[in-house]
Amino acid sequence: MRVRVLTFAGIREIVGEPSRTLALPEGATAADAWNALAGEFPALAAIAGSTRLARNGAFIDGSAALREGDELAVLPPFGGG
C-alpha cells in the first residue's frame, strides 16, 4: 500500500521535501512508516523519540495500523519563540 508522508520543520529539512510517498506492506503500522523513512534518512534517528505521528489529521501511537491512501504527518517538536 502507499501512504503519503507529510514532513514539517526540521524533518522537512532532512527529507528535503514537504511530502513523500512511501510504499509499505499491507498491515504496516505508523511506526513501520517512520522506520522506513528513518532508514532512508538516518539523521532522523536522533529525534525519533520526540517526534509525533498524525494519521489523517489526528495524533496516533506508533502501533496504529495504516491503510492505503492515508496521510501520515510527522511532527517534530520545536521550542523557538
Binding site: L6, F8, A9, G10, R12, I14, G16, P18, P42, A43, A46, I47, G49, S50, R52, A54, G57, A58, F59, A73, L75, P76, P77, F78, G79, G80, G81
Partner: protein, 375 residues
C-alpha cells in the same frame, strides 16, 4: 455608571470598534479590562502578544523576561527600537505598552520562570501565554498551569513553521502532545536555525487571539487542536490532540505531583573524542594533517570558513562519503554541533577511525576567535 466602569473612566471611544462587535460589546470589553494575563517571554512571540493584549484593553499584563534587547532581536521583535539595545526587555516593553494604552496595568517581572516561582506567579493571572524559547520552560508552564487550573496558550516557531494550541484542565496538555523533550542539542533553537521574522508575528497574533477569546468566552478555542502554520508554502493544517490516559500529569495514574525541573536527556555518548572551541586552533597546530570537515549547507558560508576545511554538506554526506579517506584525520564541524554530531557518528559507523568532533560548533569557535563575525 460606576467610577471603575469603562464608561466611567471615559475609555469607550478607544474601544469603539470592539463595542460594535456583538461578541465583544460593552460586557466583553469590561471582561477584558478586568482580566489578568501573564506573558512568559518578551521575545518574538511575546512582543506581538503584548502589543495586541495592551491595545485590546486587557486590564493587567505580566511581562516576564530576564533578558536584555539584543541587536539580533530587532528583525522580529518589533516592539523594540534600535535605541533599546542593551536595555532590559521588561523595561522597554513596559514603556511601549504604557505608551500604547495607559489604561493597562503592567507587572514587569525581570526574572526567569523557575520551579520556585512558577506556581505562585501563574496563580496571580487568569490566562498564561507561553512565549518562551526553551523546552524546559514550556514543560514548567504546562505543569504550573495544570496545578493552578489556568489555561495556557502555547506557541512555538522554527524558520517558516509555527505551532499554536490552547491547553487547559479537562483536555489534553502539552505533555499529551509531546510527552518528553527532545534530547539536548537535537532540535535547533531560533538562534541556531533561524526564524522568519514575520512568522513570529503570525504565531504571536494567533496566541493573542486565543488569549482574548478565552477571556471573552467566545468562539471555539484551539483546545484539543494543534494548529500548524507553514509560512513558506502558505498552508495551515490542524491536528486533533487527544487527552492521553497515560499522561503523567493528569492521566489515570499521575506520576507528576508538583512542578519540577524538566531537563532534556543528554544525548547518548559519542564514540568519538570531542574538541572544545577553545582548544580547536591548538589541536589543528599539533595535527597539521587534520582536515576540518565542514558539514554546513552552502548558504551558511556567510559565517566564514574554518581553517583547513573541506566542505561536504550533511545533506549529501552519504553520497559523497566515498570521496573521503578513512585513514585521514578529520575534525567534523557544523554551525552549532548538532548535524556534525550525526555526521561524525555516521563516519564512525562507516569505518573512519581518526575522527574528532567540534563540540559547540563553529559558532562557538567564531565567538572566541572574532575571526569571522558570529551571528
Amino acid at each position: 455608571m460606576s467610577a471603575d466602569s469603562l464608561a466611567g473612566r471615559r475609555e469607550l471611544r478607544r474601544y469603539s470598534r470592539h463595542l460594535l462587535i456583538p461578541e465583544v460589546g460593552l460586557a466583553g470589553q469590561e471582561k477584558l479590562s478586568r482580566a489578568r494575563v501573564l506573558v512568559v517571554g518578551a521575545g518574538g512571540l511575546g512582543t506581538p502578544v503584548l502589543q495586541y493584549l495592551a491595545a485590546a484593553g486587557v486590564g493587567r499584563i505580566g511581562i516576564m523576561d530576564d533578558d536584555v534587547v539584543d541587536e539580533t532581536n530587532l528583525q522580529r521583535q518589533v516592539i523594540y527600537a534600535t535605541s533599546d539595545i542593551g536595555r532590559p526587555k521588561v523595561v522597554a516593553a513596559t514603556e511601549r505598552v504604557a505608551a500604547l494604552n495607559p489604561h493597562v496595568g503592567v507587572d514587569p517581572i525581570p526574572r526567569r520562570l523557575d520551579v520556585s516561582n512558577a506556581r505562585a506567579l501563574v496563580r496571580l493571572y487568569d490566562v498564561v501565554v507561553d512565549a518562551t524559547d526553551s523546552f524546559g520552560a514550556r514543560y514548567l508552564i504546562n505543569d504550573a498551569c495544570y496545578f493552578e487550573s489556568r489555561p495556557h496558550v502555547y506557541g512555538s516557531i522554527f524558520r517558516f513553521d509555527g505551532q499554536v494550541s490552547v491547553f487547559q484542565r479537562g483536555g489534553p496538555c502539552y505533555r499529551c502532545l509531546f510527552p518528553e523533550p527532545p534530547p539536548e542539542g537535537t532540535v535547533p533553537t531560533c538562534a541556531e536555525g533561524g526564524v522568519l521574522g514575520v512568522l513570529a508575528g503570525i504565531v504571536g497574533t494567533w496566541q493573542a487571539n486565543e488569549a482574548l477569546k478565552l477571556i471573552l468566552g467566545i468562539g471555539a478555542s484551539l483546545a484539543g487542536r494543534l494548529l500548524v502554520i507553514d509560512a513558506l508554502d502558505a498552508r495551515s493544517r490542524e491536528f486533533v490532540v487527544a487527552s492521553d490516559p497515560d499522561c503523567p500529569l493528569h492521566g489515570t495514574h499521575p506520576t507528576i505531583l508538583d512542578v519540577s525541573d524538566v531537563v532534556p536527556r543528554p544525548q547518548a555518548p559519542l564514540g568519538v573524542p570531542e574538541l572544545e572551541a577553545a582548544n580547536f586552533e591548538a589541536f589543528l597546530e599539533e595535527h597539521p594533517e587534520a582536515i576540518v570537515l565542514d558539514v554546513r549547507e552552502p548558504h551558511e558560508a556567510v559565517l566564514g570558513a574554518p581553517p583547513h576545511a573541506r566542505a561536504i554538506p550533511a545533506s549529501i554526506l552519504e553520497s559523497h562519503m566515498h570521496e573521503l579517506d578513512s585513514a585521514q584525520t578529520y575534525v567534523v564541524a557544523c554551525r552549532v554541533g548538532a548535524r556534525s554530531r550525526w555526521a561524525v557518528q555516521r563516519l564512525h559507523d562507516a569505518g573512519f577511525r581518526r575522527l574528532y568532533h567540534l563540540r559547540g560548533g563553529l559558532l562557538e569557535y567564531a565567538a572566541l576567535q572574532e575571526r569571522f563575525e558570529a551571528f
